[in-house]
């Protein structure tokens, strides 16, 4: 098989994060700081990624700015002519950090906002004063002259404020806004019942986003990730397994997507053991679900098999217990109706209970929305 090189590297340089977002899609068991790759290894990995043909590097985490060598890594990537992007919660950043990162060659910053309402945002993010700090950071990103995206994750408790979120993004000077429905992986899966929006909420969100897109063409680009529990077709997760993205976790494991470690029985190679190119071509984890040969029915004979690539393997795992099944959010999956019913049931029950990372027991959260 002739395997095209990946287009982008997701460099999850640390799992450490001062926030405790209820929807965090990072694994339940995080890699500790002691297992993180050192600077020299990341520099080598960036060289290998550029050689392999990667165009873009996304520095993410965890909170990537928790690593002191971020500037060095950004600079190296920029010197390799890679397009650099930082995905951050912003809460650890000071004004001078942003100017330093811009000098190092950082092109683009994606700053997450949990809500437009400070109390709501801080509750979802599990960190006091986070919202106010993010507003400040946004100003510094713009002052430092980098491209700026606001990332907003939408769920039952903030769906009603998506219009305000769009206004906020414009006000803050963002050129781009990502409106993404929660994807239920890792920690977020535990809080699915707390986060799940109703279908009516989502229809309203879609309507507002579509109207704003027309109105704001040329001012704000809005990317909208549809909530797939209510969809008829699954997302083309990662643009297809092992086709476009390569993800490296803090300990150096090379993953087809950042939730892939939830799939039992996959073997992951590490950057300590092999060169990235070798892993991309030969790793069991990449080849297991690459292309269409692994597909069961109804995917195997479906016209969409090279459009959505059978959906998301991690979602199939989470919802059916078997990663090699058709993503059950697909209307052609025999499990589709039960997934939809689950979403409706959870959204309708309106639980007020959620659990933060590190908390001993579930907390009762007062809903302000």
């Amino acid at each position: 098989m002739n395997i095209d090189p990946p287009l982008a590297l997701l460099a999850e340089i640390t799992h450490r994060c001062p926030m405790r977002c209820l929807y965090c899609s990072n694994p339940v068991n995080l890699e500790p700081a002691s297992r993180e790759l050192d600077t020299a290894t990341w520099l080598r990995v960036l060289d290998e990624a550029a050689d392999l043909g990667v165009y873009q590097v996304h520095f993410s985490g965890g909170e990537p700015t928790a690593r002191k060598d971020l500037g060095e890594l950004v600079q190296h990537a920029a010197e390799l002519d890679l397009y650099t992007n930082l995905i951050t919660s912003g809460v650890l950043l000071e004004s001078e950090d942003l100017f330093r990162l811009a000098d190092a060659g950082l092109e683009h910053v994606q700053l997450s906002f949990q809500d437009t309402d400070a109390a709501g945002g801080d509750r979802i993010g599990g960190l006091k004063d986070a919202h106010r700090r993010k507003l400040e950071v946004a100003g510094w990103v713009v002052d430092a002259g980098m491209a700026f995206t606001v990332n907003a994750v939408i769920h039952r408790h903030n769906a009603g404020r998506v219009g305000e979120m769009i206004e906020l993004a414009v006000e803050l000077g963002a050129g781009r806004l990502e409106v993404a429905s929660v994807q239920y992986y890792g920690w977020g899966l535990k809080n699915r019942a707390y986060l799940m929006p109703t279908e009516q909420q989502l229809d309203a969100v879609t309507e507002i986003v579509e109207a704003a897109r027309d109105r704001l063409a040329g001012v704000l680009t809005i990317d909208y990730v549809i909530p797939d529990y209510y969809a008829r077709r699954p997302k083309a997760c990662m643009g297809g397994w092992g086709r476009r993205f390569v993800n490296i976790d803090p300990s150096g494991r090379v993953l087809p997507c950042h939730a892939a470690t939830t799939i039992p029985g996959l073997t992951f190679d590490t950057v300590q053991d092999h060169a990235l190119e070798h892993i991309w071509q030969h790793s069991d984890a990449f080849n297991r679900f690459r292309g269409t040969e692994w597909m069961p029915e109804p995917c195997a004979s479906c016209d969409f098999r090279e459009v959505d690539w059978g959906g998301c393997r991690c979602q199939a795992m989470a919802l059916t217990g078997d990663a090699a099944q058709t993503d059950p959010v697909c209307s052609l999956s025999p499990l589709h109706e039960s997934v939809r019913a689950l979403a409706e049931r959870e959204a309708g029950a309106g639980t007020e209970t959620a659990v933060y990372r590190g908390a001993k027991k579930e907390s009762v959260l007062r809903d302000l929305s």
């Binding site: 043909g53 397009y83 002259g145 040329g218």
Partner: protein
Amino acid sequence: MNTQAMHGEGIKPRFAPHVRFKFDRRRGQWVVLAPERLLLPDENSVEILQRCTGDATLADIIDQLSAEFDAPRGEIAGDVRAMVQDLADKGILSL
């Protein structure tokens, strides 16, 4: 908003800040890199994009292309305008 649609051929399209247009030797193709965007322009688009330097006006670009490809100006103008407008709406080009 399409405010740009009101502009005439005097505008000078250029790449927006933080958008890079480069030739990828390894794959032998041109690419446009922008925040969370990666475009692989076809040959015709490359001809247009290579002229979006901020120096040439839309009129210059259309004139050059219609001379080079020996094609009616009106036809070329339509294609160039449509593409430039679309990329401006997406924040790839500044006008």
